[in-house]
Protein backbone atom coordinates (compact mmCIF):
# COMPACT_ATOMS: atom_id res chain seq x y z
CA UNK A 1 0.00 0.00 0.00
CA UNK A 2 1.28 3.41 -0.88
CA UNK A 3 2.43 5.49 2.02
CA UNK A 4 -0.36 7.74 3.20
CA UNK A 5 0.36 11.18 1.89
CA UNK A 6 0.37 14.00 4.36
CA UNK A 7 -1.86 16.90 3.41
CA UNK A 8 0.16 20.03 2.89
CA UNK A 9 -0.28 22.29 5.88
CA UNK A 10 -2.22 25.35 4.83
CA UNK A 11 -1.93 28.15 7.33
CA UNK A 12 -3.66 31.49 7.69
CA UNK A 13 -1.32 34.23 8.77
CA UNK A 14 -2.40 37.12 10.92
CA UNK A 15 -1.52 39.50 13.71
CA UNK A 16 -3.61 40.30 16.77
CA UNK A 17 -2.53 43.73 17.96
CA UNK A 18 -4.25 45.24 20.97
CA UNK A 19 -3.18 48.33 22.86
CA UNK A 20 -3.76 48.52 26.59
CA UNK A 21 -4.07 51.28 29.12
CA UNK A 22 -3.21 49.59 32.41
CA UNK A 23 -4.19 51.27 35.65
CA UNK A 24 -1.52 51.06 38.35
CA UNK A 25 -4.13 51.31 41.11
CA UNK A 26 -4.30 53.29 44.34
CA UNK A 27 -1.13 51.87 45.88
CA UNK A 28 0.82 51.82 42.62
CA UNK A 29 -0.13 55.44 41.96
CA UNK A 30 1.49 56.69 45.17
CA UNK A 31 4.52 54.39 44.71
CA UNK A 32 5.30 55.55 41.20
CA UNK A 33 4.64 59.19 42.04
CA UNK A 34 7.11 59.12 44.95
CA UNK A 35 9.59 57.30 42.78
CA UNK A 36 9.31 59.93 40.07
CA UNK A 37 9.17 63.07 42.19
CA UNK A 38 11.34 62.19 45.19
CA UNK A 39 13.45 59.15 44.23
CA UNK A 40 11.84 57.32 47.14
CA UNK A 41 10.82 53.69 47.48
CA UNK A 42 7.58 53.57 49.46
CA UNK A 43 5.88 50.64 51.10
CA UNK A 44 2.65 50.23 53.02
CA UNK A 45 2.80 49.08 56.65
CA UNK A 46 -0.05 47.04 58.09
CA UNK A 47 -1.01 48.70 61.37
CA UNK A 48 -2.23 45.33 62.65
CA UNK A 49 0.74 43.02 62.00
CA UNK A 50 3.45 45.56 61.26
CA UNK A 51 4.58 44.00 57.97
CA UNK A 52 5.78 46.48 55.34
CA UNK A 53 4.65 45.54 51.86
CA UNK A 54 6.74 46.31 48.76
CA UNK A 55 5.28 46.52 46.15
CA UNK A 56 2.76 48.38 48.26
CA UNK A 57 -0.84 47.24 48.50
CA UNK A 58 -3.90 48.91 49.97
CA UNK A 59 -4.65 45.82 52.07
CA UNK A 60 -2.71 43.27 54.10
CA UNK A 61 -3.27 39.83 52.63
CA UNK A 62 -2.49 38.14 55.97
CA UNK A 63 -4.67 40.23 58.34
CA UNK A 64 -7.14 40.96 55.54
CA UNK A 65 -7.66 44.53 56.65
CA UNK A 66 -7.34 47.84 54.83
CA UNK A 67 -5.50 49.52 57.70
CA UNK A 68 -2.23 50.62 56.13
CA UNK A 69 0.13 53.56 56.48
CA UNK A 70 2.76 54.70 54.00
CA UNK A 71 6.41 54.34 55.01
CA UNK A 72 9.64 54.98 53.18
CA UNK A 73 11.93 51.97 52.84
CA UNK A 74 15.65 51.94 52.11
CA UNK A 75 16.73 51.77 48.47
CA UNK A 76 19.06 48.99 49.63
CA UNK A 77 18.62 45.37 50.49
CA UNK A 78 19.69 41.75 50.18
CA UNK A 79 20.00 39.73 46.99
CA UNK A 80 17.71 36.71 47.43
CA UNK A 81 18.38 35.21 43.98
CA UNK A 82 19.56 36.37 40.58
CA UNK A 83 19.36 35.28 36.99
CA UNK A 84 21.54 35.57 33.94
CA UNK A 85 19.69 34.94 30.72
CA UNK A 86 21.10 34.15 27.31
CA UNK A 87 17.69 34.45 25.65
CA UNK A 88 15.93 37.70 24.84
CA UNK A 89 12.31 38.14 25.82
CA UNK A 90 11.21 37.30 22.29
CA UNK A 91 13.28 34.13 22.32
CA UNK A 92 16.46 35.20 20.49
CA UNK A 93 19.87 33.92 21.59
CA UNK A 94 22.24 36.49 23.11
CA UNK A 95 26.05 36.48 23.32
CA UNK A 96 26.19 38.56 26.49
CA UNK A 97 23.68 37.67 29.21
CA UNK A 98 21.31 40.16 30.71
CA UNK A 99 21.01 39.89 34.45
CA UNK A 100 18.27 40.47 36.92
CA UNK A 101 17.79 39.87 40.58
CA UNK A 102 15.26 39.90 43.38
CA UNK A 103 16.25 42.18 46.25
CA UNK A 104 14.53 42.12 49.64
CA UNK A 105 14.55 45.76 50.68
CA UNK A 106 15.78 46.86 54.10
CA UNK A 107 13.12 47.98 56.59
CA UNK A 108 10.48 46.10 54.60
CA UNK A 109 9.03 42.63 54.24
CA UNK A 110 8.96 42.84 50.47
CA UNK A 111 11.22 43.37 47.55
CA UNK A 112 11.54 44.21 43.91
CA UNK A 113 12.77 42.46 40.81
CA UNK A 114 14.96 44.46 38.43
CA UNK A 115 18.05 44.37 36.24
CA UNK A 116 21.47 44.05 37.79
CA UNK A 117 24.17 46.40 36.55
CA UNK A 118 27.82 47.22 37.29
CA UNK A 119 28.52 43.56 38.05
CA UNK A 120 29.47 40.34 36.32
CA UNK A 121 27.68 37.12 37.29
CA UNK A 122 30.80 35.98 39.16
CA UNK A 123 30.66 39.13 41.34
CA UNK A 124 27.25 38.14 42.69
CA UNK A 125 26.27 35.96 45.62
CA UNK A 126 22.90 35.18 47.18
CA UNK A 127 22.68 37.16 50.43
CA UNK A 128 24.94 40.05 49.39
CA UNK A 129 23.96 43.69 49.94
CA UNK A 130 22.62 45.54 46.91
CA UNK A 131 21.46 49.07 46.22
CA UNK A 132 19.11 50.72 43.75
CA UNK A 133 20.46 53.04 41.07
CA UNK A 134 17.82 55.56 39.97
CA UNK A 135 17.37 57.17 36.60
CA UNK A 136 18.00 60.92 36.45
CA UNK A 137 14.98 61.73 34.31
CA UNK A 138 12.12 59.79 35.82
CA UNK A 139 8.69 59.21 34.31
CA UNK A 140 6.74 57.42 37.02
CA UNK A 141 7.19 53.78 36.15
CA UNK A 142 9.37 50.85 37.24
CA UNK A 143 12.02 51.83 34.68
CA UNK A 144 12.74 54.92 36.85
CA UNK A 145 14.96 52.38 38.57
CA UNK A 146 17.93 51.74 36.27
CA UNK A 147 19.13 48.61 38.05
CA UNK A 148 20.42 47.09 41.27
CA UNK A 149 24.16 47.03 41.84
CA UNK A 150 26.33 45.59 44.60
CA UNK A 151 26.17 48.07 47.50
CA UNK A 152 29.06 50.52 47.76
CA UNK A 153 30.43 51.09 51.21
Amino acid sequence: MAKKEKEPGITINGVIQISYNWTVGKAGGRFFNELKENKKIMGTRCRQCGRVLVPPRIFCEECFVENMEWVEVEPKGTLTTFGESYISTDGKRLKEPWMLGIVKLNRSDGGLIHFIGEARPEDLKIGMPMEIVFKDKREGNIMDILYFRPAKK
Binding site: G9, G14, G28, Y86, P97, I102, I113
Partner: protein, 388 residues
Protein backbone atom coordinates in the same frame (compact mmCIF):
# COMPACT_ATOMS: atom_id res chain seq x y z
CA UNK B 1 -18.84 13.20 52.08
CA UNK B 2 -17.10 12.77 48.74
CA UNK B 3 -18.23 9.77 46.68
CA UNK B 4 -15.67 7.40 45.17
CA UNK B 5 -14.45 8.29 41.68
CA UNK B 6 -12.57 6.04 39.26
CA UNK B 7 -10.55 6.70 36.13
CA UNK B 8 -11.94 4.31 33.51
CA UNK B 9 -10.08 5.38 30.37
CA UNK B 10 -7.55 7.74 28.85
CA UNK B 11 -7.16 9.24 25.38
CA UNK B 12 -3.67 9.65 23.96
CA UNK B 13 -2.08 11.09 20.84
CA UNK B 14 1.46 11.83 19.73
CA UNK B 15 2.94 15.07 21.06
CA UNK B 16 4.68 17.11 18.36
CA UNK B 17 6.28 20.50 17.97
CA UNK B 18 3.78 21.31 15.22
CA UNK B 19 0.55 19.45 14.67
CA UNK B 20 -1.22 20.08 11.37
CA UNK B 21 -4.58 19.47 13.10
CA UNK B 22 -6.64 22.31 14.56
CA UNK B 23 -7.44 22.40 18.28
CA UNK B 24 -10.83 20.87 17.43
CA UNK B 25 -9.26 18.05 15.39
CA UNK B 26 -6.72 17.30 18.12
CA UNK B 27 -9.50 17.04 20.69
CA UNK B 28 -11.63 14.78 18.51
CA UNK B 29 -8.62 12.45 18.21
CA UNK B 30 -8.10 12.04 21.99
CA UNK B 31 -11.83 11.97 22.80
CA UNK B 32 -12.44 9.11 20.37
CA UNK B 33 -9.37 7.32 21.68
CA UNK B 34 -10.59 7.66 25.28
CA UNK B 35 -14.13 6.44 24.44
CA UNK B 36 -12.69 3.42 22.62
CA UNK B 37 -10.39 2.79 25.57
CA UNK B 38 -13.37 2.38 27.94
CA UNK B 39 -15.95 1.08 25.40
CA UNK B 40 -18.29 4.04 25.78
CA UNK B 41 -20.03 6.30 23.29
CA UNK B 42 -20.32 10.07 23.46
CA UNK B 43 -23.97 9.71 24.53
CA UNK B 44 -22.79 8.10 27.77
CA UNK B 45 -20.82 11.19 28.82
CA UNK B 46 -22.87 13.47 31.07
CA UNK B 47 -20.56 16.46 31.38
CA UNK B 48 -17.24 17.67 29.97
CA UNK B 49 -14.46 19.59 31.69
CA UNK B 50 -11.73 21.42 29.73
CA UNK B 51 -8.28 22.57 30.71
CA UNK B 52 -5.99 24.86 28.75
CA UNK B 53 -3.48 27.24 30.29
CA UNK B 54 -2.83 30.18 27.96
CA UNK B 55 -5.19 31.03 25.09
CA UNK B 56 -2.66 33.38 23.49
CA UNK B 57 -0.64 30.34 22.35
CA UNK B 58 -3.34 29.27 19.91
CA UNK B 59 -4.60 32.83 19.42
CA UNK B 60 -8.24 31.93 20.12
CA UNK B 61 -9.44 33.30 23.42
CA UNK B 62 -11.91 31.19 25.43
CA UNK B 63 -10.65 28.30 23.34
CA UNK B 64 -12.76 25.77 25.25
CA UNK B 65 -15.70 26.71 23.03
CA UNK B 66 -13.79 25.27 20.06
CA UNK B 67 -13.53 21.99 21.98
CA UNK B 68 -17.24 21.37 22.53
CA UNK B 69 -18.23 19.58 19.30
CA UNK B 70 -15.11 17.42 19.28
CA UNK B 71 -15.46 16.22 22.87
CA UNK B 72 -19.11 15.19 22.98
CA UNK B 73 -19.94 18.45 24.77
CA UNK B 74 -22.87 19.55 22.60
CA UNK B 75 -25.98 20.16 24.71
CA UNK B 76 -24.12 19.00 27.79
CA UNK B 77 -22.90 20.93 30.84
CA UNK B 78 -19.31 22.02 30.15
CA UNK B 79 -16.79 24.07 32.10
CA UNK B 80 -13.26 25.28 31.49
CA UNK B 81 -10.48 25.44 34.05
CA UNK B 82 -7.19 27.34 33.94
CA UNK B 83 -4.50 27.51 36.63
CA UNK B 84 -1.39 28.05 34.49
CA UNK B 85 0.76 24.91 34.22
CA UNK B 86 -1.05 23.25 37.11
CA UNK B 87 -4.10 23.13 34.80
CA UNK B 88 -2.63 19.74 33.90
CA UNK B 89 -3.77 18.28 37.23
CA UNK B 90 -6.27 20.85 38.55
CA UNK B 91 -8.51 20.03 35.55
CA UNK B 92 -8.90 16.32 36.36
CA UNK B 93 -9.42 17.47 39.98
CA UNK B 94 -12.30 19.64 38.72
CA UNK B 95 -13.63 16.58 36.87
CA UNK B 96 -13.23 14.60 40.07
CA UNK B 97 -15.39 17.09 42.00
CA UNK B 98 -18.12 16.76 39.34
CA UNK B 99 -18.39 13.04 40.10
CA UNK B 100 -17.47 13.06 43.82
CA UNK B 101 -20.32 15.52 44.42
CA UNK B 102 -22.77 12.95 43.10
CA UNK B 103 -23.96 15.29 40.33
CA UNK B 104 -22.63 13.18 37.43
CA UNK B 105 -21.74 9.55 36.83
CA UNK B 106 -19.53 9.91 33.74
CA UNK B 107 -17.38 12.94 33.02
CA UNK B 108 -14.93 13.55 30.18
CA UNK B 109 -11.84 15.60 31.04
CA UNK B 110 -10.05 17.20 28.09
CA UNK B 111 -6.74 19.06 28.34
CA UNK B 112 -5.08 20.69 25.34
CA UNK B 113 -2.58 23.29 24.25
CA UNK B 114 -1.51 24.31 20.76
CA UNK B 115 1.69 26.23 21.35
CA UNK B 116 3.02 26.30 17.78
CA UNK B 117 0.41 28.64 16.31
CA UNK B 118 2.15 31.82 17.45
CA UNK B 119 5.46 33.21 16.22
CA UNK B 120 7.23 33.31 19.62
CA UNK B 121 6.10 31.28 22.62
CA UNK B 122 8.40 33.28 24.91
CA UNK B 123 6.71 36.51 23.83
CA UNK B 124 3.37 34.94 24.79
CA UNK B 125 4.75 33.94 28.18
CA UNK B 126 5.91 37.55 28.66
CA UNK B 127 2.23 38.60 28.72
CA UNK B 128 1.54 36.68 31.95
CA UNK B 129 3.45 39.04 34.24
CA UNK B 130 2.27 42.03 36.28
CA UNK B 131 2.43 45.10 34.05
CA UNK B 132 3.50 47.70 36.61
CA UNK B 133 6.31 45.97 38.49
CA UNK B 134 7.43 42.90 36.55
CA UNK B 135 6.74 42.73 32.82
CA UNK B 136 8.76 45.83 31.84
CA UNK B 137 11.86 44.03 33.18
CA UNK B 138 11.40 41.58 30.31
CA UNK B 139 10.94 38.48 32.41
CA UNK B 140 10.44 35.28 30.42
CA UNK B 141 10.07 31.69 31.49
CA UNK B 142 13.73 30.63 31.20
CA UNK B 143 14.97 33.47 33.41
CA UNK B 144 11.97 33.17 35.74
CA UNK B 145 12.98 29.58 36.28
CA UNK B 146 16.67 30.48 36.41
CA UNK B 147 15.87 32.66 39.44
CA UNK B 148 14.05 29.80 41.11
CA UNK B 149 16.61 27.14 40.17
CA UNK B 150 19.50 29.19 41.56
CA UNK B 151 17.67 29.70 44.87
CA UNK B 152 16.88 25.96 45.00
CA UNK B 153 20.41 24.71 44.26
CA UNK B 154 21.79 27.27 46.73
CA UNK B 155 19.41 26.28 49.51
CA UNK B 156 20.06 22.56 49.33
CA UNK B 157 23.58 22.35 47.87
CA UNK B 158 22.48 20.58 44.69
CA UNK B 159 24.33 20.64 41.35
CA UNK B 160 23.91 21.20 37.63
CA UNK B 161 25.23 17.67 37.11
CA UNK B 162 22.34 16.23 39.14
CA UNK B 163 19.91 18.30 37.06
CA UNK B 164 21.55 16.93 33.91
CA UNK B 165 20.99 13.35 35.08
CA UNK B 166 17.24 14.00 35.18
CA UNK B 167 17.32 15.07 31.53
CA UNK B 168 19.32 11.96 30.53
CA UNK B 169 16.85 9.74 32.42
CA UNK B 170 13.65 11.32 31.11
CA UNK B 171 14.65 11.77 27.48
CA UNK B 172 16.03 8.22 27.54
CA UNK B 173 12.78 6.89 29.00
CA UNK B 174 10.91 8.65 26.19
CA UNK B 175 12.59 6.30 23.69
CA UNK B 176 9.97 3.72 24.81
CA UNK B 177 7.03 6.13 24.52
CA UNK B 178 5.27 6.09 21.11
CA UNK B 179 3.63 9.47 21.86
CA UNK B 180 6.89 11.25 22.70
CA UNK B 181 8.15 14.35 20.92
CA UNK B 182 11.74 14.38 22.13
CA UNK B 183 13.17 10.94 22.87
CA UNK B 184 16.96 11.22 23.05
CA UNK B 185 19.86 9.04 24.02
CA UNK B 186 22.05 11.51 25.91
CA UNK B 187 25.02 11.60 28.21
CA UNK B 188 25.33 13.88 31.22
CA UNK B 189 28.06 15.78 29.35
CA UNK B 190 25.71 16.36 26.40
CA UNK B 191 23.31 18.11 28.76
CA UNK B 192 26.04 20.02 30.61
CA UNK B 193 27.52 21.29 27.34
CA UNK B 194 24.18 22.40 25.87
CA UNK B 195 23.84 26.20 25.81
CA UNK B 196 22.59 28.08 28.84
CA UNK B 197 19.16 29.66 28.66
CA UNK B 198 19.46 31.17 32.14
CA UNK B 199 21.96 29.77 34.63
CA UNK B 200 21.72 26.97 35.76
CA UNK B 201 19.07 26.03 33.20
CA UNK B 202 20.41 24.80 29.86
CA UNK B 203 18.70 23.92 26.61
CA UNK B 204 18.65 20.22 27.53
CA UNK B 205 17.27 20.96 31.01
CA UNK B 206 14.21 22.46 29.34
CA UNK B 207 11.11 20.76 28.00
CA UNK B 208 10.20 21.68 24.42
CA UNK B 209 7.28 23.70 23.08
CA UNK B 210 4.55 21.25 22.12
CA UNK B 211 1.14 20.76 20.49
CA UNK B 212 -1.04 18.07 21.97
CA UNK B 213 -4.11 16.94 23.89
CA UNK B 214 -5.13 14.29 26.41
CA UNK B 215 -8.47 12.93 27.60
CA UNK B 216 -9.45 11.16 30.82
CA UNK B 217 -12.83 9.55 31.54
CA UNK B 218 -14.05 9.61 35.15
CA UNK B 219 -16.83 7.42 36.55
CA UNK B 220 -18.81 7.06 39.74
CA UNK B 221 -18.34 3.89 41.80
CA UNK B 222 -21.38 2.02 40.43
CA UNK B 223 -20.60 2.85 36.81
CA UNK B 224 -16.90 2.08 37.21
CA UNK B 225 -17.71 -1.37 38.58
CA UNK B 226 -19.96 -2.04 35.57
CA UNK B 227 -17.18 -1.04 33.19
CA UNK B 228 -14.23 -2.85 34.74
CA UNK B 229 -13.26 -5.51 37.28
CA UNK B 230 -10.14 -3.54 38.10
CA UNK B 231 -11.04 0.12 38.74
CA UNK B 232 -8.35 2.68 39.37
CA UNK B 233 -9.61 5.08 42.04
CA UNK B 234 -8.78 8.70 42.66
CA UNK B 235 -7.66 8.37 46.25
CA UNK B 236 -6.50 11.85 47.10
CA UNK B 237 -6.43 15.33 45.63
CA UNK B 238 -4.77 18.52 46.84
CA UNK B 239 -4.02 22.01 45.64
CA UNK B 240 -2.08 24.98 46.91
CA UNK B 241 -1.49 28.54 45.74
CA UNK B 242 0.91 31.22 46.89
CA UNK B 243 1.10 35.01 46.47
CA UNK B 244 1.65 36.46 43.01
CA UNK B 245 4.14 38.87 44.67
CA UNK B 246 7.01 36.38 44.58
CA UNK B 247 9.53 39.09 45.52
CA UNK B 248 8.42 39.11 49.15
CA UNK B 249 6.80 35.85 50.15
CA UNK B 250 6.63 34.76 53.73
CA UNK B 251 9.61 32.40 53.42
CA UNK B 252 11.73 34.74 51.20
CA UNK B 253 13.06 31.71 49.40
CA UNK B 254 11.90 30.64 45.97
CA UNK B 255 13.85 27.42 46.54
CA UNK B 256 11.19 25.93 48.81
CA UNK B 257 7.72 25.35 47.39
CA UNK B 258 5.55 25.76 50.49
CA UNK B 259 2.40 25.61 48.33
CA UNK B 260 3.45 22.25 46.82
CA UNK B 261 4.12 20.70 50.22
CA UNK B 262 0.63 21.87 51.20
CA UNK B 263 -0.98 20.32 48.10
CA UNK B 264 0.83 17.02 48.67
CA UNK B 265 -0.20 16.89 52.33
CA UNK B 266 -3.87 17.34 51.42
CA UNK B 267 -3.73 14.59 48.82
CA UNK B 268 -1.85 12.15 51.06
CA UNK B 269 -4.08 12.84 54.08
CA UNK B 270 -7.13 12.13 51.93
CA UNK B 271 -5.54 8.95 50.53
CA UNK B 272 -4.44 7.80 54.00
CA UNK B 273 -0.79 7.77 52.97
CA UNK B 274 1.65 8.40 55.78
CA UNK B 275 4.97 7.54 54.18
CA UNK B 276 5.01 8.26 50.44
CA UNK B 277 8.55 6.88 50.07
CA UNK B 278 7.30 3.38 50.85
CA UNK B 279 3.59 3.62 49.98
CA UNK B 280 3.90 5.20 46.52
CA UNK B 281 4.93 2.72 43.82
CA UNK B 282 5.26 5.12 40.92
CA UNK B 283 5.27 8.85 40.17
CA UNK B 284 4.88 11.14 37.20
CA UNK B 285 5.99 14.58 38.36
CA UNK B 286 5.86 17.90 36.58
CA UNK B 287 9.28 18.51 34.99
CA UNK B 288 9.22 21.47 32.57
CA UNK B 289 12.79 22.03 33.77
CA UNK B 290 14.97 19.30 35.24
CA UNK B 291 15.24 20.95 38.65
CA UNK B 292 11.44 21.03 38.82
CA UNK B 293 11.37 17.22 38.89
CA UNK B 294 13.83 17.38 41.79
CA UNK B 295 11.83 20.01 43.71
CA UNK B 296 8.59 18.14 43.13
CA UNK B 297 10.02 14.79 44.24
CA UNK B 298 10.89 16.50 47.52
CA UNK B 299 7.55 18.30 47.90
CA UNK B 300 5.70 15.05 47.14
CA UNK B 301 7.74 13.29 49.83
CA UNK B 302 9.27 10.82 47.36
CA UNK B 303 12.64 11.64 48.92
CA UNK B 304 13.61 13.72 51.94
CA UNK B 305 13.61 17.53 51.57
CA UNK B 306 16.90 18.40 49.89
CA UNK B 307 17.40 14.73 48.96
CA UNK B 308 16.49 14.89 45.26
CA UNK B 309 20.14 14.98 44.22
CA UNK B 310 20.83 11.75 46.04
CA UNK B 311 17.63 10.26 44.59
CA UNK B 312 18.88 10.72 41.01
CA UNK B 313 22.54 9.95 41.87
CA UNK B 314 21.52 6.58 43.32
CA UNK B 315 19.13 5.74 40.50
CA UNK B 316 16.11 5.52 42.82
CA UNK B 317 13.98 7.41 40.26
CA UNK B 318 15.21 5.37 37.27
CA UNK B 319 12.72 3.19 35.40
CA UNK B 320 14.11 0.11 37.16
CA UNK B 321 14.70 1.98 40.45
CA UNK B 322 12.91 1.59 43.77
CA UNK B 323 10.62 4.58 43.09
CA UNK B 324 10.51 5.25 39.35
CA UNK B 325 9.69 8.79 38.26
CA UNK B 326 8.56 9.74 34.74
CA UNK B 327 9.18 6.40 33.03
CA UNK B 328 7.14 7.89 30.16
CA UNK B 329 9.79 10.53 29.63
CA UNK B 330 7.94 13.26 31.51
CA UNK B 331 7.56 16.70 29.98
CA UNK B 332 11.27 16.62 29.16
CA UNK B 333 10.97 13.66 26.85
CA UNK B 334 7.31 13.41 25.91
CA UNK B 335 6.77 17.14 25.36
CA UNK B 336 5.21 19.98 27.31
CA UNK B 337 1.85 21.18 25.94
CA UNK B 338 1.14 23.04 29.17
CA UNK B 339 -2.45 22.04 30.04
CA UNK B 340 -2.06 18.67 28.31
CA UNK B 341 0.58 17.90 30.90
CA UNK B 342 -2.41 15.86 32.16
CA UNK B 343 -0.48 13.19 30.29
CA UNK B 344 1.40 12.69 33.59
CA UNK B 345 -1.88 11.42 35.12
CA UNK B 346 -2.59 9.27 32.04
CA UNK B 347 0.76 7.53 32.43
CA UNK B 348 0.13 6.83 36.13
CA UNK B 349 -3.13 5.15 35.06
CA UNK B 350 -1.45 3.19 32.26
CA UNK B 351 1.26 1.95 34.66
CA UNK B 352 -1.34 0.73 37.18
CA UNK B 353 -3.38 -0.95 34.43
CA UNK B 354 -0.26 -2.56 32.93
CA UNK B 355 -1.05 -0.80 29.64
CA UNK B 356 2.13 1.27 29.54
CA UNK B 357 3.75 -0.89 26.87
CA UNK B 358 7.51 -0.47 26.62
CA UNK B 359 7.33 2.26 29.28
CA UNK B 360 6.27 -0.24 31.92
CA UNK B 361 8.36 -0.31 35.06
CA UNK B 362 9.57 -3.75 36.17
CA UNK B 363 7.31 -3.98 39.22
CA UNK B 364 3.64 -3.93 40.16
CA UNK B 365 2.18 -0.46 40.47
CA UNK B 366 -0.84 -0.15 42.76
CA UNK B 367 -0.51 3.42 43.95
CA UNK B 368 0.83 6.38 41.98
CA UNK B 369 1.12 10.13 42.49
CA UNK B 370 1.30 12.99 40.01
CA UNK B 371 1.37 16.79 40.12
CA UNK B 372 1.21 19.97 38.06
CA UNK B 373 2.87 23.34 38.68
CA UNK B 374 2.46 26.84 37.31
CA UNK B 375 1.97 30.58 37.65
CA UNK B 376 4.52 32.87 39.28
CA UNK B 377 5.98 29.85 41.11
CA UNK B 378 2.50 29.75 42.51
CA UNK B 379 0.31 26.74 42.01
CA UNK B 380 0.56 23.05 42.65
CA UNK B 381 -2.07 20.39 42.11
CA UNK B 382 -1.53 16.82 43.28
CA UNK B 383 -3.47 13.62 42.63
CA UNK B 384 -3.00 10.15 44.10
CA UNK B 385 -4.59 7.24 42.24
CA UNK B 386 -4.59 3.51 42.80
CA UNK B 387 -6.30 0.23 43.46
CA UNK B 388 -8.29 -0.38 46.63
Amino acid sequence: MAKKVAIVGVGMQKFEFRKEETVEEMIFDVTRNALENCHLSKEDIEAVVYGSAVDAFCGIHNSDKVAIDASGGMLRPTMRNSTSGSTAISTPILGYTHVASGLYNLVMVICFEKMSENAAAQAVFNTVYDEAFVRPIGLNVPIQCGLEARAYLHRYGLTERQMAKVSVKNRGNALSNPYAQLPMKLTVDDVLSSPYLAWPVKRLDTAPVTDGARAVVLASEDVAKELTDDPVWIKGVGRGADSVWFMGRRNYDLGRLDYAYLAAKQAYDMAGIQNPMTEIDYAEVYDPFTYKEMQHCEALGLCPEGGAGRMIDEGISFKEGALPVNASGGLQGEGNPIGAGMSRLCWCYLQIKREAGACHVPKDVNTAVTNGWGGMYQYNAVMVIGRD
